[in-house]
């Protein structure tokens, strides 16, 4: 049974990746112009190895600053204009169609689908909570009148939120538009609830 996580109880003391308190612990995660490596003055912090992840903390609980602004979605700024965001349910339909074609093409043994295809298809199917992706797209497109970007619409569709508070908590970039968006968002969520698959 699918369970929605609830808001966390507020606690004293915030974590921050010591940008203020500990100047050594300065992280720059996504830098498109770099070769993609995490840049840390500590040295070759390799996040892929779980054991070294603890090196960051240097043994106690280091404060982590809530960089709310830098954690907002910036999809449209980082990708070219001709890119179309797909909801997981739309991607699942496209990838299933390709998989069916592969059954026909599989006579040529040199054509094989890569591992990332199977992983992508499995992920898209598990993230698919709706019976009809076109109806979902139609319902959510109403939000574009309120300056909600396509990437934000896709995040709302993929997370399948139940309340307006959940939407604003998950998509922080919408918080600034909360006043004008709350009512239409509530109507949209009510419509989406009718389109959900029964579990």
């Amino acid at each position: 049974m699918r369970r929605i996580p609830h808001p966390k109880p507020r606690r004293e003391g915030k974590f921050s990746f010591g940008t203020e308190g500990s100047p050594d612990l300065k992280f720059n995660f996504s830098s498109p112009k770099s070769d993609g490596k995490f840049a840390t003055p500590i040295g070759k912090g390799d996040w892929a190895k779980g054991g070294k992840g603890g090196k960051v903390a240097n043994g106690g609980k280091t404060p982590v600053a809530k960089e709310a602004q830098s954690l907002e979605l910036r999809v449209e700024q980082e990708l070219p204009k001709n890119v179309k965001c797909l909801m997981d349910c739309e991607a699942a339909i496209i990838l299933e169609g390709i998989q069916e074609q592969m059954v026909i093409l599989s006579e040529d043994s040199t054509i094989k689908l890569p591992e990332s295809f199977d992983l992508g298809l499995r992920y898209a199917k598990t993230g698919c909570y709706y019976t009809n992706p076109q109806s979902v797209r139609r319902v959510l497109e109403v939000l574009s009148k309120y300056d909600v970007s396509y990437s934000e619409i896709c995040v709302i569709a993929n997370t399948c939120p139940e309340t307006v508070d959940e939407v604003f908590a998950l998509v922080q970039s919408l918080e600034a538009k909360r006043r004008g968006l709350s009512e239409p968002l509530k109507d949209v969520l009510d419509e989406l609830a009718k389109l959900k698959k029964s579990t």
Partner: protein, 176 residues
């Protein structure tokens, strides 16, 4: 998040592939070269969905190979900072846990796990709340937020958090 995107690539073809099936050979080579690869800008190329245009071929001096500019449509998967994903936990240790969302690996440090969850070692290491009501272990499904990404030649690796509101365990395999 999945995207549908048009990309362009210069494909080199050996003259032995010329003839009636030149286009098919070019498309097969494109699929073998591109599907499953990953880049920092576009993420994982999950599947090619169509060919938009194949330009005129240019013979390369000295080799006889011909270069064709090919525009193709494809589905890519790329995680973004700030994105919310639902991932399946693959490994739990005292530093945190690893999870998978499609082809992307995500690590959630114990510093980004709520304070009321403690690591429990054993045959099935897990993070559990003090009252035992919520448990994160292998095969649990969690909703997390991406706070950083790293790309290398063959994969994308992310750092995530479950410390914010409405993040955490969705499905516990022991109660499913």
């Amino acid at each position: 998040m999945f995207f549908h995107i048009v990309l362009e690539r210069n494909m080199q073809l050996h003259p032995r592939h010329f003839g009636r099936n030149l286009r098919e050979n070019l498309v097969s080579k494109l699929m073998k070269d591109v599907e499953g690869t990953c880049s920092g800008r576009h993420g994982f190329v999950v599947a090619i969905t169509g060919i938009e245009n194949i330009g005129k071929g240019l013979i390369r001096d000295g080799t006889g190979f011909v270069t064709f500019p090919v525009k193709y449509q494809c589905v890519v998967f790329r995680p973004f900072k700030g994105e919310i994903l639902e991932a399946a936990v693959t490994m739990v240790n005292k530093m945190g846990f690893f999870a998978e969302a499609g082809p992307v690996q995500i690590f959630v440090s114990n510093h980004l796990i709520p304070d009321d969850m403690e690591f429990q070692s054993g045959d099935m290491p897990n993070y559990t709340t003090s009252d035992g009501s919520v448990k994160i272990q292998k095969d649990s499904e969690v909703r997390l937020k991406i706070i950083g990404t790293r790309v290398d030649a063959t994969e994308i690796f992310c750092i995530g958090t479950i410390k914010d509101d409405f993040l955490g365990v969705i499905n516990d395999p022991t109660t499913a």
